[in-house]
């Protein structure tokens, strides 16, 4: 970025590299697991009762790219996001994430019911790596964005579900991390707030963030993303511009041709 000696055509060092990644899950949660299984290490083939949620997926992401992940339900979109967030590990292949990640995945997960909104903000922001002084400096903005100034000392469990998502989004979107992962979290919440979130995401994109976006909403995908990844049956079928990817997706599964 700042290195002027490289020619313009040179590819920037990628922030995310995914090479030959595969991950498998149990089909049946109840299926028995033996001690041997646990310590057997990674085998190349799936054991009976397991399936590959993703396999042979490879791509790399340059800083500042905005990527939309497209696919039907259960084709591995969220799993891919979790792999990039490094909250699960692949069974084969390698994932390199070379910058900090702000994951908007299960965002309300870190919030504790019995603690107040104020305590929760400090806790979640802190767990994602923000220092106390940084949180202090941004606290008012976080609360203002979520529009819940009157509920600062209310236990989190007494908030409405919309408020919960609002404060969670507000905290995570304040993280100064170069990579932003968004997983359909904004499906809830009223229209006005959703628009506000989208404007915030655009702001972050303009600031040079790298975006990974999972959504079923075509309009949103076209709005933010330039590149698309199309996942089908656990494989990366197409890695191209978002328009191309959406066209192909609509061709194969679209209701209106």
């Amino acid at each position: 970025m700042t290195d002027l000696s490289t020619p313009v055509t040179a590819v920037q060092a990628p922030v995310i590299t995914v090479s030959d990644v595969g991950i498998r899950f149990k089909r049946n949660r109840r299926s028995r697991r033996s001690f041997k299984d646990l310590f057997a290490g990674s085998q190349r083939r799936a054991r009976p009762g397991e399936f590959w949620a993703l396999r042979n997926v490879s791509f790399s992401v340059a800083p500042g790219e905005a990527i939309g992940v497209v696919g039907r339900n259960g084709q591995g979109k969220s799993t891919l996001l979790k792999l990039v967030a490094e909250v699960v590990y692949p069974d084969e292949g390698r994932i390199g994430v070379h910058a900090g990640v702000a994951p908007l995945i299960e965002i309300t997960g870190g919030f504790v019911d019995d603690l107040t909104v104020r305590d929760n903000v400090y806790l979640t922001a802190g767990l994602h790596g923000m220092k106390r002084a940084e949180i202090d400096a941004q606290f008012d903005e976080i609360i203002a964005f979520a529009e819940i100034g009157d509920f600062l000392d209310t236990p989190y469990k007494h908030l409405s579900s919309g408020m919960k998502v609002r404060i969670a989004f507000s905290v995570i979107s304040r993280l100064e991390e170069p990579i932003l992962l968004v997983d359909e979290v904004l499906a809830v919440g009223d229209k006005g707030f959703r628009e506000k979130c989208y404007r915030r995401i655009e702001e972050l994109l303009a600031g040079g963030r790298t975006l990974f976006f999972v959504s079923h909403n075509e309009r949103d995908l076209r709005r933010f993303c330039t590149r698309g990844l199309y996942l089908d049956k656990g494989a990366l079928v197409l890695d191209a511009s978002i328009d191309e990817v959406l066209d192909r997706y609509n061709q194969e599964y679209g209701v209106t041709p």
């Binding site: 970025m1 800083p63 994951p103 299960e106 019995d114 603690l115 220092k131 600031g207 040079g208 963030r209």
Partner: protein, 272 residues
């Protein structure tokens, strides 16, 4: 374009670990103390009630307190019962370390050992703040004909705390991930703890164990640690062989725990 983003100072992994660990530990304590009316007193009430029960059963019914060097018996009890409460709390909470926090674990990538280490630390803090109870009983005993006497062996207290923290951490590293796969283990651990309670020198002293049972008590890694704690008031209880066994066991359990944890964590993350 992203110069501002990259200029952000990043902390060393160790500093981040400490920071996250401290956040979760204080969260645990805050939740515990803010949701109950009695707050702090719960962490001493439990061992106090148990101590009262054992005191009544053993001194009033079985006349156990007559063994000379175990006087005053209530202090004798508490010096082992409070550390045991810590160990017991860590191991039994470790069975729920992953299942209870599943949502949070699924959304942050902080080093996973923190989920176990925070238990050792928060229960350890509760243990330390419960220590004044022993002092109070020791002071009260000064007015009786069997006054408690503090000895120089109190200097071993930090050693005992370090050994116990390491042991509890190691056991929790093994228990926490395995419970995710074998839910039965949760009950098995509870049962095991109850067994270990009576197999440890808590209601009795190492000195009064019959000779043919001594080896069985000695291989219990808690024995040596408890004898270290007790030696502050009851120097006769100190047995360096047992302490050495405890230390050896602790190292082995820590290594095994680290291996089990590392090996199973990718699967744990998929299953929770």
């Amino acid at each position: 374009m992203s110069a501002a983003l990259e200029a952000r100072p990043t902390r060393s992994p160790f500093a981040r670990y400490r920071h996250s660990l401290w956040l979760l530990t204080t969260r645990d304590l805050k939740v515990r103390y803010s949701t109950s009316f009695l707050g702090y007193f719960w962490s001493i009430l439990d061992p106090l009630v148990m101590a009262a029960i054992y005191w009544i059963v053993f001194t009033q019914i079985f006349h156990r307190g007559t063994v000379g060097h175990e006087q005053p018996y209530i202090v004798f009890l508490l010096t082992a019962l409070l550390p045991w409460t810590w160990f017991n709390g860590v191991v039994s909470d470790a069975t729920r370390a992953f299942t209870k926090e599943a949502k949070l674990i699924r959304s942050t990538k902080i080093p996973r050992t923190i989920w176990v280490a925070r238990l050792v630390l928060s229960k350890g803090i509760e243990f330390v703040v419960s220590l004044p109870v022993i002092i109070i009983f020791a002071l009260v005993s000064l007015g009786t004909n069997t006054p408690a006497q503090l000895h120089w062996q109190i200097v071993f207290l930090p050693l005992a705390i370090i050994l116990q923290a390491a042991l509890a951490f190691g056991v929790a590293l093994i228990v926490a991930p395995l419970v995710v796969f074998f839910r039965d283990l949760e009950r098995a651990v509870k049962l095991g703890l109850r067994f270990l309670f009576y197999a440890s020198p808590i209601v009795y002293g190492l000195e009064s164990v019959p000779i043919h049972l001594k080896p069985f008590i000695a291989i219990n890694p808690m024995s040596g640690i408890l004898s270290l704690y007790r030696s502050a008031f009851f120097p006769l209880e100190l047995n360096w062989v047992d302490v050495a066994v405890s230390a050896g066991f602790t190292i082995v359990i820590l290594v095994v725990g680290a291996l089990v944890f590392r090996r199973t964590i990718p699967t744990v993350l998929k299953e929770i």
